[in-house]
């Protein structure tokens, strides 16, 4: 299968790979997927508690090129966004941006799930959920 230039770019130069300190109260972690399914995404956000803006985002992903590109793109989009706006990121926006073929749509769904899970974790830690 031929990948789009954008997927190849994110795959070859993934943005924001890494790990945030999950013991910190303002860090939310989303871990979605399963090894048996062939993809696991871990997406983390660090939120500025005063403004509610995501100041940092990191990911690690076990999966195919599209899964890695989807999560890399997600971290780029998350940075600088207020969490309420981040919740509105739709998987189809990722599909369009990366030009994912139909068989890879589940990668974008996983990225959306990871964003939502990270935000939910943050909210839970801060008594907002």
């Amino acid at each position: 299968m031929a990948y789009s230039e954008k997927v190849l770019d994110h795959f070859s130069n993934p943005r924001n790979v890494g790990t945030l300190d999950k013991s910190k109260k303002n860090v939310g972690t989303g871990l979605v997927g399963a090894p048996e399914c062939g993809d696991v995404m871990r997406l983390q956000i660090e939120v500025d508690e005063e403004t509610g803006i995501i100041k940092d985002a990191k990911f690690k992903t076990f999966g195919c090129g599209s899964a890695i590109a989807s999560s890399s793109l997600a971290t780029e989009w998350l940075k600088g966004k207020p969490i309420e706006e981040a919740l509105e990121i739709d998987n189809m926006a990722i599909v369009e941006e990366l030009e994912l073929p139909p068989v890879k749509i589940h990668c974008s769904v996983l990225a959306e799930d990871a964003i939502k899970a990270a935000i939910e974790d943050y909210k839970k830690k801060n008594g907002q959920a």
Binding site: V32, G33, A34, P35, G38, F62
Partner: protein, 406 residues
């Protein structure tokens, strides 16, 4: 690392034509273009003679009589003809077949079709090394069993089944023995008569011949085996396979068979050494496992799982330099990981992490060394990106994590 041309380590998918094969074929496209079934003129005679010669060459490779070789369009057709053709031909004897879960799709899907036509099929399990259980095979034979179908060597793992023992069981119970030997013929000695195989499928393009041509060996004596044609028409190939013969393809197949017969022993030795070099080089990476019985395996194949790395993603790190294939779900249309590896009891996670390396006649030591370096680099890179590798390194028991399956 110096940039090299694209390295091909996917010879189980297909092999390049040997230049000597192409050379033999060329005249049969142009000046010797005749139809082998044209009995009334020189053009036909020349084509027929070429087909007869190729039939001898193929027969010599597997040590059978030339009259026992039926040319087809490839192994898929041969598998279909052997299974469905025997099911129809021997309907009076019974309707039961036995095969194995790790067979090629051409065999498994033919069996599914037979079930739809009213047949019954037993699918045998394999053990962790990919081997069938001979006792389970014997126990599965019923009075109405027509045929046992077991592949000679597996396409994904290279595992070779105990053909002689299976042949003895089939002979003892008076059951036909069919083998898809596509991955074995031309690479290791394959002598169906020595092990009691009555029908055998093979393909030219897996042994440095052209695509679109293959054969079915059909035993002529003791027992005399017949299959019902699945393609109706002019009654070519002893009535078992109608259709104008693919003369250039058949000539190429014959030439490929002759080269294989002469060079196989040396080539297998060379490839086995290169394969071991590749395998040893890659096994230096931690959490890396070979899939398939190392004591009964094709010389040119290794199937390796790189734990906590997804196969398709891994291939993307080096697919501009090295061509291999993966048992990962992402590489299949069905989004299911390799059923062969799953049947061997591998967890889905290890199946997703598997890469098949299949070496060939034109693989060099430099290419193998380059591959070791590039693949190792890719694995390390992907593990840096992998959350489950990080968790594993932190000592988290991944079995106990509550995953959100999707």
């Amino acid at each position: 690392m110096e940039k090299k041309k694209l390295i091909y380590l996917d010879n189980n998918a297909t092999t390049p034509c040997d230049p000597r094969v192409v050379e033999a074929m060329l005249p049969y496209f142009t000046e010797k273009f005749g139809n082998a079934a044209s009995r009334s003129h020189e053009f036909g005679w020349v084509a027929e003679e070429a087909v007869d010669y190729a039939r001898e060459q193929v027969a010599a490779l597997i040590e059978v009589d030339a009259r026992e070789v039926i040319f087809t369009s490839g192994a898929t057709e041969s598998d279909n003809l052997a299974l469905k053709g025997a099911f129809e031909m021997y309907a009076r004897k019974g309707k039961h077949l036995i095969t194995v879960k790790t067979e090629h799709k051409a065999v498994l899907d033919s069996c599914r079709r037979i079930e739809k036509m009213g047949g019954e099929v037993t699918y045998l399990d394999v053990d962790a090394r990919g081997m069938i259980d001979l006792e389970a095979l014997e126990a599965a034979i019923r009075p109405d069993t027509i045929m046992v179908a077991v592949m000679w060597a597996n396409n994904e793992t290279g595992v070779i089944q105990p053909m002689k023992e299976i042949g003895e069981i089939c002979a003892r119970h008076g059951v036909l023995f069919f083998s898809d030997a596509t991955q074995a013929v031309g690479k290791i000695p394959v002598k169906p008569k020595e092990v009691g195989v009555h029908l055998m499928a093979m393909s030219a393009h897996k042994m440095y011949g052209p695509k679109g041509v293959g054969a079915l060996f059909v035993n002529r004596k003791a027992p005399r085996v017949k299959v019902t044609a699945q393609m109706d028409g002019g009654g070519h190939e002893r009535g078992m396979r109608s259709g104008t013969l693919n003369v250039p393809g058949i000539v190429g197949f014959g030439q490929a068979a002759e080269i294989a017969r002469k060079e196989m022993a040396e080539e297998a030795q060379r490839l086995s050494r290169l394969r071991d070099r590749l395998e040893q080089g890659l096994l230096k990476l931690e959490e890396t496992y070979v899939n398939g019985n190392p004591d009964s395996r094709m010389p040119h194949v290794t199937n390796i799982s790189f734990k906590h790395v997804e196969g398709e993603g891994l291939m993307m790190t080096f697919n501009k330099e090295i061509a291999v294939s993966s048992g990962s779900a992402c590489t299949s249309a069905s989004l299911e990981p390799s059923y062969v590896l799953i049947a061997m009891g591998l967890g889905d996670d290890l199946a997703h992490s598997s890469i098949r390396f299949s070496l060939g006649r034109f693989t060099t030591e430099e290419e193998v060394d380059y591959a070791i370096e590039a693949v190792s680099k890719g694995v390390n890179h992907m593990r840096e990106l992998s959350p489950i590798w990080e968790m594993y390194k932190e000592g988290i028991n991944l079995e106990e994590v509550e995953w959100s399956e999707h």
